[in-house]
Amino acid sequence: MTSVDLMALTPLLMLAAGSVLCLLIGALRPGIYLYAAAIAVVAASLLWSCIVSVEAALPGLSITPFSRFSSVFFCGTGIVSLLLAYSYNRRHGITGEEYPATILFALTGMAVACAATDLLMLFLGLEAFTFAFYILVAIRRDSARGGEAGLKYLLNGTLSAAILAMGMALIYAARGTLKLAELTSSGGTPEPLFLAGCCLILIGMAFKLSLVPAHLWTADVYQGAPAPVTALLSTASKGASLAALILLLPTFGTWDGLHDILWLLALFSMLAGNFAALVQSNLTRMLAWSSVGQMGYVALALVAAPTGGLKAAAFYLVAYAAAGLAAFGAVSALSEGEEFDAIESCRGLGYRSPLTGAALALAMFSLAGIPPAAGFMGKFAVFAAALRGGEIVLALVGMLSALVAVFFYLRVVVVLYMKPSTPTIESVRVPDFSEKVALFVPAVAILLLGVYPQPLLELLEKILR
């Protein structure tokens, strides 16, 4: 390992070392200051990835512009989630050092997954952050829902991990290599064993992206997990899975089945996600189902991968993540004692808690794909890619399900601003400074990406080449 390699790996090492140190120091001197320390570590890692532009190819890992961009994205969402947790966890009695340590560990896993060059490393990265989420989802030991959510996530997750591992094993059996580059170059007619492996991998990834039919865990887990964890789970974890999928896609070569499977995943996710979200009365469940629908649009972009869909998928995910952070951030900032849940309990919040209400409303407009929010530009990119790829049917279904989605997203805005607030509700809590920052940053990102997406699009074009 040369010094350049070390430079390139530093952000990853920072996260990993931060995680271990956090646990060790926490054992000696526990305290809330560890959150601040974790935020500092993540911020340092983010800055390093931004500024130090070195590339390195190590066995199993290679730091590329793509992996650096992904790490910056994960660290950004990680910081927002930690800022939310800083205040949320104190209110809910989650005081241990394991929380920031596990978050750092999850971020390490994500950074590994997006830098992997062979299947083994990819699997390790994916499972590392999923493993961290098993813990984070169930971190409220006194909450029955949390336990249930943790168990559901664990059972589904291990199953999908097994499927993923099996798929990789089959591919290894067929081709005799785990290296992504070699798998890509060894084209030719794919043998049945290889195809079986590809199918299993796609199903495993569908679980991570919560695409129908592997989506069933989503609503329960989102509802049961603490809001800051959900914020990270619904954004960074999806981003890492997408990054891994983007790395995997070239290995599938020109296999037609890939198109068909993604086509079906996209179709069912858009329909099931958006229609199921329509009937939810619980805000987090609604957001969970809607995220299934949103991932359907990402899958739609992936279907059109040969015609520029990857860029659209990545852009869509960034836009979605900004909205997801704002939405779950608002849920997190509003919950006190009892988990903040029902959509109806937002009545009049737009006036009583202007910043939180505005962030939530903006997130809803962005998720619904209405300009000038980032979601619109995301939908624009996705549909342009889909039509360019000739996916007219899927694009039409996507548009019509987007219309359904507009209805339930607007319902939240209606409750926020148009329904009279019930007099029995006690005063709403004012967000802390950390929460204000955590709401403000994604909100600004939503608007900026919605009005001037060009820099991000250019960057994505460069790194996805």
Binding site: P371, R388, V406, L410, Y417, Q454
Partner: protein
């Protein structure tokens, strides 16, 4: 050249800047009202200045024939989206209507909006930005962006400050328009891709896309998507059902803007984008367009006759009047099209005035039931005078503005489709019936309920006088406005290349 200053950008973003000015005034409603009104008046002054100098501007050469001012800059090159704004005679008329209507809407809701007044004003200004953008964009993606942005403030306007079933109405309004717009977005992207295939350049610029050779079948699909989006805004039968609800439950300012401007974005879109982009498909769809417009005229007038709520009655009459605009566009002939464009402005003034009047009455009596009034001529003569005049305009009395527009539309259409014109002449009688009934029951007859009503105050009188001046001016001397839209109409209809 006048383009040293980005006048069109200023025109669009001045209200948005005004909206930011309002932020520090949160909670100081009366000051905020002044600021918002000054911004709106300044905007109006800007458009009037443009009007005063349009003949000078026309002599300057621009890249596109017929345009007075153009602005062009790259915006999102990755998508091929440019920031192209253009002002021709038609846009200028619409822009003038917009800035004027917003002054009226702000003035008329001066005292009516008490709760959350600053938020209301901020949303009004955001909406003005959106509507200005719609009337000035020459890039389809940019147009679509503004087209959607103007929905959000209206959604809040109806939902927060409306009456009755306001939430139902505002969601219905939003979903109807979104339905059309989303399909139009797909069509816009498809058109963009077709053009990229043919010419190799990725662009959304209207005047590049017009060059695209589109096979007829494809053209039909794409035009259908555009037509649907615009027909919903128009609104054409059977897509009109959102309008009576939205109008009835909106606050007065919302109704004035809905009738005066949002409906016009539909007809404007058809004139600026729908017909020029897909000429063959548009021609093929003309019979359908005529039929829907005629059904709308008859159906809406009959329904209007049965209404008990004055605002709902005017809302239905709006559908009928827009039917004439639709006929003028469908015939796509210079005289009729000029009539349609003029009628768009006229309808904005007349119906806007009627909504203002009903809003003023509602503020005093807290009801809009026709059955609650009667004999108002004796009680509030000034109000009754204005109401009578604008009702007469709505009926198409010569010398007032509606007559001019309707006359031009029918005179232009008669050569092409005499049957349509004959039927529309029959349709002209219908507003007479329901408006006479309305005026007779409300203004004349015996007093039915002992209401204590104050007559108009100075603010209200000045608003109505301004509207009346425009009404009579266009009615008596429409030539300057017709001159202004003459060249663009000739270019659109292909008389001048």
């Amino acid at each position: 050249m006048c383009n040293n200053y980005p006048l069109l950008t200023i025109l669009i973003f001045l209200p948005l800047a005004g909206c930011l000015l309002l932020l520090p005034l949160w909670g100081r409603a009366s000051l905020a009202r002044m600021v918002a009104f000054v911004v709106a008046v300044f905007e109006l002054a800007l458009t009037v200045w443009l009007y005063a100098s349009w003949q000078g501007l026309e002599k300057m050469p621009t890249r596109l024939p017929g345009y007075l001012l153009l602005e062009d800059a790259p915006w999102i090159p990755s998508f091929g989206i440019r920031y192209i704004l253009g002002l021709d005679g038609i846009s200028l008329l619409m822009v003038m209507l917009t800035s004027f209507t917003f002054c009226v809407a702000l003035a008329v809701s001066w005292n009516a909006i008490k709760e959350r007044a600053v938020l209301f004003l901020a949303l009004m200004l955001v909406m003005e930005t959106g509507i200005m953008g719609v009337f000035l964009s020459l890039d389809l993606a940019l147009f679509y962006l503004f087209w959607e942005i103007m929905l959000i403030p209206m959604f809040f306007l109806i939902g927060v400050w409306g009456h009755g079933r306001k939430i139902y109405s505002t969601i219905k309004f939003f979903l109807f328009t979104m339905f059309g717009s989303l399909l139009m977005l797909l069509a816009i992207i498809a058109l963009h891709l077709l053009h990229a295939q043919q010419s190799g350049t990725a662009t959304f610029s209207l005047h590049d896309l017009i060059q695209t050779q589109i096979p007829f079948a494809t053209q039909l699909w794409l035009f259908a998507a555009f037509f649907l989006a615009f027909a919903i805004k128009f609104p054409l039968f059977p897509l009109h059902t959102w309008l009576p609800d939205a109008h009835t439950d909106a606050p007065t300012a919302g109704s004035v803007i809905l009738a005066g401007l949002l409906l016009k974005t539909g007809s404007y879109g058809l004139i600026r984008f729908g017909y020029p982009l897909f000429p063959q498909a548009a021609e093929a769809m003309t019979p359908l367009f005529y039929t829907l417009a005629l059904i709308g005229i008859f159906y809406a007038s009959l329904i209007a006759f049965a209404q008990e709520d004055m605002k709902r009655l005017i809302a239905y009459s709006s559908i009928g009047h827009m039917g004439y605009v639709a006929i003028g566009i469908a015939s796509w002939q210079p005289v009729a099209l000029s009539g349609s464009i003029l009628q768009m402005a006229n309808h904005g003034v007349t119906t806007g005035a009627l909504f203002c009047l009903i809003g003023m009455l509602d503020e005093r009596a807290h009801t809009r039931e026709i059955a609650a009034f009667g004999g108002l001529w004796g009680k509030i003569p000034l109000w009754s005078f204005f109401f009578l005049i604008f009702s007469l305009t709505s009926m198409g009395l010569p010398g007032l503005n509606s007559f001019v527009g309707e006359f031009l539309i029918l005179a232009g259409t008669i050569k092409q489709s005499p049957l349509v014109v004959v039927l529309s002449f029959v349709g002209i009688i219908l507003p007479l019936i329901y408006m006479v009934r309305l005026v007779q029951e409300v203004v004349f007859q015996q007093e039915r309920q002992p209401l204590v009503l104050m007559d108009l105050n100075l603010r209200e009188i000045s608003v109505l006088v301004a509207l009346l001046v425009l009404d009579v001016w266009v009615g008596v001397h429409p030539a300057p406005l017709l001159d202004m839209i003459h060249l663009p109409v000739q270019i659109l209809t292909g008389v001048v290349p």
